[in-house]
């Protein structure tokens, strides 16, 4: 987990892979992540500066301050927004994918975690005043995504073969 403000790793290459429960900030490059099941891929893009962040959280809300911020939707989004703000990136908009229900567990009284992740993302983005300008969420298929921070374009590829451009 990189603290915000540290130099980006791989600053010389054109594609940066974001792991589960991690995030990255970049300009002019592609941020990519895969293995999105119930997890979310949240692309945050500042069109004025062309700076973007990709967050890959696993769970909706961080209730224990001892847990890593990147792991949760609410704290992960805020962490990435802080990093964008530190770069004076300007107003930010969001695109959202993931949140599938690949496995339905017996003891999920609040509903599948994928759906709760999507709800949490909408809630925290609204609370932070970030417009949600595109989404491809839910269903029962895994996803990979590529986020081109040069243009703000997000390409989502589902494991059932459907590709969506956001």
């Amino acid at each position: 987990m990189r603290p915000a403000g540290e130099p980006e790793p791989g600053a010389g290459s054109d594609r940066l892979k974001v792991s589960v429960a991690d995030y990255a900030v970049a300009a002019g490059r592609t941020l990519a992540t895969s293995g999105l099941g119930s997890c979310l891929g949240i692309a945050l893009y500042a069109p004025e500066s062309g700076v973007g962040a990709l967050v890959h959280p696993m769970l909706p809300f961080r209730e224990d301050a001892g847990r890593p911020r990147e792991r949760f939707v609410d704290s992960g989004v805020r962490l990435a927004l802080e990093a964008l703000s530190a770069r004076e990136a300007g107003p930010v908009e969001a695109k959202l994918t993931g949140g599938a229900t690949i496995v339905r567990f017996e003891a999920d009284p609040d509903g599948p975690v994928g759906e709760r992740n999507v709800a949490a993302a909408r809630e925290v983005l609204a609370a932070e005043g970030v417009g949600l300008v595109g989404e491809e969420v839910g269903g029962d298929a895994g996803r990979s995504m590529r986020f081109d921070t040069a243009t703000g374009q997000v390409v989502v590829r589902r494991t059932d073969g459907v590709e969506t451009v956001l």
């Binding site: 790793p9 429960a21 339905r104």
Partner: protein
Amino acid sequence: MQVDIQSLETFNRLARDGARSAAASLSELTGIDTNVEVTNVSLMAPADLRYEFVGRRFSGVHIGLDGALSGETVLMFDSEARAAVTDVLVPSDDPEMERSSVKEVGNIMTSGFIDGWAEHLEAGIDITPPDYVEGSGAEVLPTSTLAGDEQVFVFRSRVEAVSDAIDFRMCFVPERAALTSALEAESDDTVAFEKLEVFNEMTEQGAAKAAGNITSMTGLETDVEVNRLSFVPIADIPAAVGDQPYVGTVLEYHGRPSGYLVILFDRPSARSVVDALVPTETDGAWGEMEQSAIEELGNIMTSGFIDGWANVLETSIDHSPPQFVADMGSSIMSPVVGRMARDQDHAFLLDSTIETDDDGVFRCEIFALPDGDELREVLGELLVDRADEIHADPDEVF
């Protein structure tokens, strides 16, 4: 000897930081940017470690450690990674120069890997001059893993380049006595090293039983090829399973311990299983009949696997009906580890690979993720200190 779980977490972090530091050195020397994909510490039989490297060519450096943490490290580049490194550093096509550049880069990267450990232990670690190693599979592994059958602790990291399909691996095998004194218990949160070994052996027996179930149901001759118990950061588990497509079942088990069991076949193997189980011609899709065939097999394999644990641990463990899944491995694991990530940062991952004899044509992976606290508790209650004193004979209970 008690293993302190907190120390195990700390050591895992040191291995990750060390791998990052090695990756940063590589980047500085060659401009190749990398991402640390997986770091874990596994307890496994040397033969199982060797099996994992069969058939692939590696080159790199072997370095011996002495002092605060004695043991061996090997840094291995696969063929593509080696070519990428030498392309940058050796403009001419000179094999001798290429070897020496790999040796130099490997030496600098290994130093980066080791520094954090020395700092943590507040003591010096002496390193031997690097030996260039090159060969297929096990030829490049630490020499301590080439003989004997006593289980070894192996710290491993897999690091991939961000833009190319190249990777390198760090493999650190500490000497058992050195590791056990470094992991000496500082808290009550401990588990006996010997019990982990017993549990690992039990799991292998359970996997063997599950392999036997595959054979009796499908006629495919299968065997357990690799079995290991890893202690792994939760967020690394999807990457450890990988992005390739799988078909299989996921279920929850309840009892002591509770947890999750994921059985995954690669697609051709799943197809072989279905062809053997479903007598009528199917259209190639994963329809209802195919799904229930896979679920039924998952159910029987699970019973073989879980019943063995319950017998040895003298507890009762029930499981939910298996759920059919067909997706990329990492996506299948994401909801499972998501649930565990609510209150764990690290997890014990038991991973067994079942294959047909040596040809690798049929492949099934079993991943068992027991709740960490519950596993510690039940192992704590196991009335054995050593594997050879166990009162339950694995051959009888499985």
